[in-house]
Symmetry: C2
Subunit: 488 residues, 2 copies
């Protein structure tokens, strides 16, 4: 396995693509903007999914499944929503192919034209609220706390593996509540679940905040977001949770009778994270040698390489460690390949980002030790076989923490404050990252800043200090700083 | 909760629909032929998925994800395949909507017409083999043992919840091998995995066999099937595993160089089970009081109902049992509703098919006992609280076994042998079920029998006795009996 990947400094974007290719995470497909998620990349997503699913269930949510297709007329029912999604969707117009009379293959059968076109879901608020209409009659039917794991399609012009693809995998939660406060609390609860997942599992620090009007989800009253920082100084919106007010309930006429027997419209939230998180994970931790994965999400946490090859006298010990690691709940891979050399294997597992590598040769066996290599720091040390399982367990925790600390330090180094627009532009150009600055609160100003600098408001942080200030562009009064960055 | 459902005798098909509705398994959607899988129904599918996924991984398979869309031209590449699937597919022709100039909503933007139409996958052989072309160069790249969990769309004319829907959820395995024998062995291995899953988890006995040419998958050389029997005497094809020969490798030009450095086409299998299994599960075990679920797949295995309501003095004990059941790995639900009466709750959990119900009232507390009710036999007994967890565990096993035995007995009673066509027709009409009979091996005869009786060959059983006989329709010689039935 050739190890060469472009360095981050040389070409960050190429570095990202190289890692995806060389670590075997994804591949291009024959369909514009759609990727194939390869087994190793999919295993990371499966681990993410398992943890998130557990967290959703622990907070009272259940899974269900709604149709892939949305009747065209549904999209029009919520005015902002259709504005946001109609421009980029896959439209099903026919339901049959037929042999081309000229014998050249198959063509669309014109007689199979649908009466109403179907949209491949870009998100499911409309079809779900059309269903909730039948499910919700009384306050006793509330809250509804439903999530679905699904594929969605948005016809993006510029795509990039994991970060933005035409089809992507995600979860979308859609909840229904009797009161405004309860719905807001739900959207905040999930916002916190997302932040916890990002930081504790992905080891990816995030800023929690709400979106400006301009960046809000199409149809939402409030959008809460978690924003992460990639190594090129650009921000990644990693998950959003929306308080939808009564917009969808009104659009689909979903009412409930409250405990005083009066009819009211239902309050809603929706929230989602997607395979984009895999892109964020890659960009947060990886280095010029390849992928670096936090142990909690790594498909394999420990790889054992027999040196120079799987000799019978080595394998007895290695098989025993394999079993002991498994018993301790550690995901382990033993490389039993007879032909490849250790150096080749080392490079391969470095590329794949396996957190810990055990090297065991005949001399190690004699000395009762193992060569333990950490992927994050690339440190190697000889560790006694006695107690090695506990050591591995502790080391995995240490690596998980180290990656998080490292990413936090990177973010601190790329978190600036700007008082003037010149300063703002200079920081953006020289080091990028998050920049907090005063803003006058208008969409107009936000768009002007974007036009001139490509930076947008990533969020209005929840914990922002209240202070009088002046908008960096217009000088108009502002009460708190908001966070800008260029973003993916 | 009103308990009334149509009885099986009165109207089997309505009984099935009533159970789906009253047990909260699925709902109709606004999209023709697509259903909404409700949380309780989805939880059954999640349990199936978890077990199958484990079994696939234990046999060396990994998951990946391939695009939802298939370029139209791909379908044409394998001649039989396009014949089988072109007639019933959703075709994406455009990628944008626009506001209707007359202000009446949105319409398809004609300028967004795709150069080549995309088909929503009815199955993924074509897009996957087009990808495998890039992944397979040498025998060292083989075997590829990949599965995906996905949604697929087949534009069915007549649909029925779970059993046949336009969109359905499934897994599809697609493997690539260096030799014919290895590919056949793989298709047989999965065939056995499916049979084991059906019998050990679903408690649904199946007959294993191969399909006749007429019933084979479009593009397969051999299709292995598991066939179950529903309570109305109709068969259900519950899972198929296909040996695809080199058909797709040839269609997509996928070759590998073998260890003698000669190029050969790759050998293939594909295999799948779907949400149809949920329909099979319902139809195999349920009765006129509602759903009956085998414990291994039931979302809740034990429900605890405080009698007459969740009084504080009861809840202390109940909370303790809840925790102990959870600790023992048993999925438990405690009904803490204050308002509904026990009778109402009993009917509800009967409808939902929860295998065991614990009833606990103040008098039970005094006596140190629990009223334990089995869903399968409807037997009730007072059981001592001491040792109740072990009792529940053992009872769950007993219920699982009882359901399987009951279903096997039903099948034995509905398994006949016919020597003449008159006898065949009489059995079909009077009791249905599986009928073994001699057949001359031609497609023509199979189609004639189907035309006259609606029965088809469900499979050529793998363990059939070799014996000389005469085809029931034509009298032509036959070497073994095959199995006929009407089917879903």
């Amino acid at each position: 396995m050739a190890k060469e990947i472009t360095s981050r400094e040389e070409n960050y974007s190429q570095w990202y693509n190289d890692i995806i290719k060389k670590a075997g995470l994804a591949d291009n497909s024959a369909v514009r903007g759609c990727m194939v998620i390869k087994p190793y990349g999919f295993a990371i997503w499966e681990n993410m999914k398992a943890e998130l699913d557990r967290m959703f269930k622990e907070t009272g949510h259940v899974n269900a499944y709604f149709p892939l297709f949305i009747p065209k007329s549904f999209l029009s029912k919520e005015a902002d929503h259709v504005e946001g999604f109609a421009k980029e969707c896959a439209v099903v117009t026919h339901h049959r192919l037929m042999n081309n009379p000229d014998g050249s293959g198959v063509v669309v059968d014109p007689s199979s034209k649908l009466e109403e076109e179907l949209i491949v879901r870009p998100t499911s608020e409309t079809i779900i609220w059309n269903t909730y209409k039948d499910w919700i009659k009384s306050y006793r039917d509330l809250p509804l706390l439903i999530n679905q794991w699904a594929n969605v399609v948005r016809w993006e012009m510029r795509t990039r593996p994991f970060l933005r693809t035409t089809e992507f995998l995600w979860q979308e939660g859609h909840t229904a509540h009797a009161t405004k406060d309860e719905a807001i609390a739900e959207s905040r609860l999930i916002h916190d679940v997302y932040a916890k997942f990002a930081e504790e599992y992905m080891a990816m620090p995030v800023i929690q905040g709400s979106k400006s009007e301009n960046e809000r989800f199409a149809g939402a009253v409030e959008t809460y977001t978690i924003e992460a920082l990639m190594q090129d100084g650009k921000a990644l919106q990693a998950g959003t949770s929306h308080f939808l007010g009564q917009n969808f309930a009104k659009a689909f006429d979903v009412k409930f009778s409250n405990d005083k027997n009066t009819e009211e419209h239902v309050w809603a939230t929706s929230w989602g994270v997607s395979t984009r998180l895999v892109g964020g994970l890659i960009m947060t931790h990886s280095d010029d040698e390849g992928l670096v994965l936090p142990p909690k999400l790594a498909p394999y946490q420990v790889v054992i390489v027999p040196i120079p090859k799987p000799l019978p006298e080595l394998m007895e010990t290695i098989d025993k460690f394999e079993q002991e690691l498994k018993d301790a709940g550690i995901r382990v891979l033993v490389d039993r390949d007879e032909k490849k050399r250790p150096g080749f294997k080392f490079a391969e597992y470095e590329m794949k980002g396996i957190p810990i590598r055990f090297g065991i040769g005949p001399r190690d066996l004699e000395k009762g030790q193992i060569e333990v290599a950490r992927r994050d720091t690339k440190e190697k040390s000889a560790v006694a076989m006695e107690g090695i399982i506990a050591h591995a367990k502790q080391l995995l925790e240490e690596i998980q923490n180290n990656l998080f600390e490292r990413a936090k330090n990177f973010r601190s180094e790329h978190y600036s404050s700007a008082e003037t627009f010149d300063e703002f532009k200079e920081i953006l150009e020289k080091k990028g990252g998050f920049i907090e600055a005063h803003w006058d609160g208008t969409v107009e100003t936000e768009l002007k800043i974007k036009e001139q600098t490509k930076a947008t408001i990533r969020c209005i942080p929840l914990d922002a200090k209240q202070e009088e200030g002046k908008c960096i562009l217009t000088g108009a009064p502002s009460k708190q700083k908001v966070i800008f960055a260029k973003s993916y």
